[in-house]
């Protein structure tokens, strides 16, 4: 290439660079703007709904500073407290979640104040986690501003909590041992209840599994549906609709889904409980308080979890077993609590019950599985 051609190319590249910088400056993307902490989002606050929508967009873009600046009651708490209210101060599911969507529902409005329901859908590593706040808004100088209902994170006083619960460790046989050498026995578990339920989306197997041994067990359940001529139709596992760690004499519900299978196709079911030894601790102990069955509409099991031990449980998985009047399992529901369980600090949970089954539910039993970062507990 000649010198003249090279100069022309350099000029074209320089011109294109300047043009792109100008375009980027004049109309930046929202995420880039939020990251830079600079230019405004859609900040229309002409109506209460618009103000809440604007707040939602800022939270979705992790622009907590901008969101905090626009609040009417920011003098009542710091930006850090606002951020911790949304993303948690302790490592838990919310820490690693993003706001995937939100809905704004007006509840009430006058000329000077309004109430709006703000429904947030957080995406967590274990699935969606909804959260709802009822917001009060006030009109300041023609602009609607939100009074954020701050839920300040409880502070656990510095202290030493002695814990002397049991811990089990496992040493298995060596691979160099003779084939007849003895190994530690797998925990003995037993299915104490099993019941099929036909749902619109397919067949669901519900049941309960008991660790009848004196050692902790890691458990799961697999089921194979057999047709009337004993041919396998489908095999599925309980996945996370079960508490995988069972301490001695502990019972977990389980739920196995068979999508697009009708009970009329099924001749029999082959259940395969699996158990293996696991190193485990009897700590932490979680108290489930104020368990309450709420009738339809929006049938649910609500309550609060209180960590009675000193160790922080970063993730809690609550499983509810619902029984009819005869004591038969009619449904198993679950919820991951997206906030860490701090010692002696209640955290609410809410397990949805399908409307059509809610009328059959007469009693329930709730269990909690907890996980602490750094190892299963």
């Amino acid at each position: 290439m000649s010198n003249g051609g090279g100069r022309l190319l350099a000029l074209v590249l320089a011109g294109a660079t300047i043009a792109l910088i100008a375009i980027g400056t004049l109309s930046p993307s929202k995420t880039a703007t939020a990251a830079a902490g600079g230019v405004h989002f859609t900040t229309s606050a002409g109506t209460p709904e618009a103000a809440v929508r604007s707040l939602g967009e800022q939270i979705r873009a992790n622009a907590f500073g901008r969101a905090y600046e626009g609040l009417a009651n920011k003098g009542e708490f710091s930006e850090q407290q606002f951020r911790r209210d949304l993303t948690s101060g302790w490592p838990d599911l919310r820490t690693y979640a993003t706001l995937s969507d939100f809905q704004v529902q007006p509840l009430h409005a006058t000329d000077t104040d309004a109430a709006v329901r703000f429904k947030m859908q957080w995406s967590t590593v274990v699935g969606p986690s909804p959260s709802t706040r009822d917001l009060h808004l006030v009109k300041n100088g023609g602009r609607w501003q939100i009074e954020w209902p701050i839920q300040k994170e409880p502070v656990v006083p510095p202290q030493v909590i002695p814990v002397n619960y049991l811990r089990w460790d496992v040493i298995n046989r060596s691979s160099a041992d003779d084939w007849g050498a003895q190994d530690v026995e797998a925990p003995h578990v037993r299915i104490v209840d099993m019941h099929p339920v036909q749902r619109a989306e397919g067949l669901v197997l519900l049941g309960e599994l008991l660790n009848e041994d004196v050692v902790p067990a890691y458990v799961s359940v697999t089921a194979t549906l057999l047709s009337k001529d004993q041919k396998p139709i489908d095999t599925e596992g309980s996945f996370d609709d079960i508490s995988h760690q069972l301490l001695p004499k502990q019972v977990t519900p389980f739920l196995i889904r068979f999508p697009n299978v009708n009970i009329s196709q099924v001749g029999s079911v082959r259940m395969t409980p699996f158990s293996t030894l696991i190193s485990a601790s009897a700590d932490p102990v979680i108290e489930i308080q104020n368990e309450k069955l709420n009738p339809a509409p929006d049938a649910s099991l609500t309550g609060q979890l209180t960590n009675q031990s000193g160790q922080i449980a970063n993730v809690a998985h609550v499983l509810g077993t619902f029984y009819d009047q005869s004591g038969q399992v009619v449904w198993v529901g679950d919820q991951y609590v997206d906030h860490a369980l701090l010692p002696q600090t209640p955290v609410a949970f809410n397990i949805h019950i399908p409307e059509d089954l809610a009328r059959k539910v007469s009693s329930e039993r709730t269990v909690v599985a907890t996980y602490s970062f750094g190892g299963t507990q």
Binding site: N164, Y165, L166, W168, D178, W179, G180, Q182, D183, V184, E185, V192, L210, E212, D213, V214, V215, P216, L247, P248, K249, Q250, V251, A282, V285, I286, E287, I288, Q289, N290, E291, K292, L293, G303, Q308, E364, R365, T366, V367, V368
Partner: protein, 288 residues
Amino acid sequence: MRAGIPIFIGGLALGISSALSQTGDLNLPKSIAAGVPFSIQSTGSGKGTLYIVGPGQMIKQDVQLGGSIEIATGALYNAGHYSVWIASDSSTQSGAIDVTPSAKPADLTFIAKPSRLPVSLHNGITGSAYVFDSYGNLITKPMQVSFQLSNPGSAPQTRTVETRNGAAWTQMDSATREGKAQFVARVGDVSSTRIVGQVPGDPCTIKMSAKPAGNKIQLVTDPVRDCSGNAIPDGTIVTFTETYGASKTTVDVPLKKGIASVQVPAHRGATISVASGVVLGNQVRWAE
């Protein structure tokens, strides 16, 4: 690799028999015990090659024809049926020999199942013994195997079983007291020991008491035992359930030092129950 051995043997036999015009039978024992020395009487003169081919073992050595060929102690040790050839330029001689396991047991593989089980279980423990000679051959000749399960503080259970096809098995009851039992299988002067953990069964009864503790109720169980009087191990989950009106409080508490203890909110008229696994305990009605 294993599939190649029969092909090799077949090829070897075919090659030997087709290459040589004159054949004859070898004079050798029909059967020997594994590892025992023996001799093969050959005919003819000159040099030849001896082949002994059998399951998992092959011997090839140059020999002088017309005399006794000695097979040394321990040279042929894998039990099974062997083909024997002596091949020379002018002749081939063949025969067969069976190598049987040595009559003297040298090793015992003992499988005891399970390694942990509840107390007072009839025929709950199974022991299987397999008897081998010093070369690892399964001794199929019937032998008497004695099994003994020794529990601390009680008389041992003993069974003597004759092996069939090299194996003997038995069943034993677990003891009424928890502890580690020694399960020994013995044949001749060879023995093998396994440890079987006998653990408490389900709780027999669970008795709970309640007393006020500030604005809470302190719930404590009596020491939890099975129906044989063994203490249920620490870590076993005991579930306390307090029902008041339409609400409920549940706590899964592990046993610690033989008892379970927890505080639950005090509600006048509340009904409190206790359970462990499938065993229900008593109920308390809180009137304060």
